[in-house]
Symmetry: C2
Subunit: 168 residues, 2 copies
């Protein structure tokens, strides 16, 4: 396979993975492009490579920055902005998880918390099942949180010791 072909396939693949997970396809493609680029790129280069408009490129670059997946790389004596991606995919994955947790899981947990303020007088089988489901969901979220936390700390300590034996 030729390099350019492989590059295209990767960008497409990453894009479609993203869009399946509720992430803008173009954003994922910009991310993919920067991931495999050994040098930081300008907005123009990204527009050219992915054949997208300036507005689109700009918006997705900014969004990627707020996700903590890419950074501006300002080169002295150059007014153009360059962008580069965090290349350590473990860090990137943790970043994505952290961000999504904050954006989507926390609001749900907020709602679940409020739902426990059900009037004490509310009775009936329906209410019982409702409470049970809410408790159950909170439980699973708590466990997932704890597991992710462990995972994240395991990676931090990767070089320090045998923490990763947990994940062998």
């Amino acid at each position: 396979m030729k390099f350019d072909e492989a590059k295209q396939k990767f960008i497409q693949g990453w894009g479609s993975l993203g869009s399946n997970w509720g992430i803008n396809r173009t954003m994922a493609q910009v991310h993919a492009l920067l991931l495999i680029s050994p040098v930081s790129l300008t907005t123009e280069e990204i527009m050219e490579e992915l054949q997208i408009s300036r507005g689109n490129a700009n918006m997705n670059l900014r969004e990627l920055i707020t996700w903590g997946l890419i950074r501006k790389d300002l080169k002295p004596g150059n007014r153009k902005e360059f962008f580069y991606a965090e290349k350590d995919m473990w860090k990137a994955a943790m970043q994505i998880i952290k961000e999504r947790r904050k954006r989507e899981l926390e609001p749900l947990m907020q709602v679940l918390g409020e739902l426990k303020n059900l009037d004490k007088e509310e009775k009936g089988e329906g209410v019982r099942e409702f409470r049970k489901t809410i408790d159950n969901i909170e439980d699973v979220i708590a466990k997932a949180d704890s597991a992710l936390d462990k995972l994240s700390r395991a990676q931090d300590n990767w070089l320090l010791g045998g923490m990763m034996k947990l994940l062998k």
Copy 2:
């Protein structure tokens, strides 16, 4: 808070969580409704409760079945189909992860594998970074897989022993 209000909030919240994660909002709402229902429901009841069309209800119910999140509950002497949801949220979560892995991660891993068939002659910094990124992603996926596997087995053995100390 009144029960009906709480119920609505939960269904809406679950629905919007789903849609943020690339899951049809209505599908998530149907799932939510069945999760908190102590009895299995008919298509008609679901249509009524969520104010959706028959086609929509049918399609999402079928999809939930292929995800392994709900089942048909056929009552003898009754031609109507009833539906009920798996109520153990841990099982449901694992089911969702398994399914998404199969649908979205495996195709990507397939592509990544192919991308390693890069012509040996392909040289240059770009190619080096490309290979590095691919390897790195494969690595993260492998670790995530292993962690999930551990997690899943940990839950299976929950009642049997101290497996969960790993996740404290």
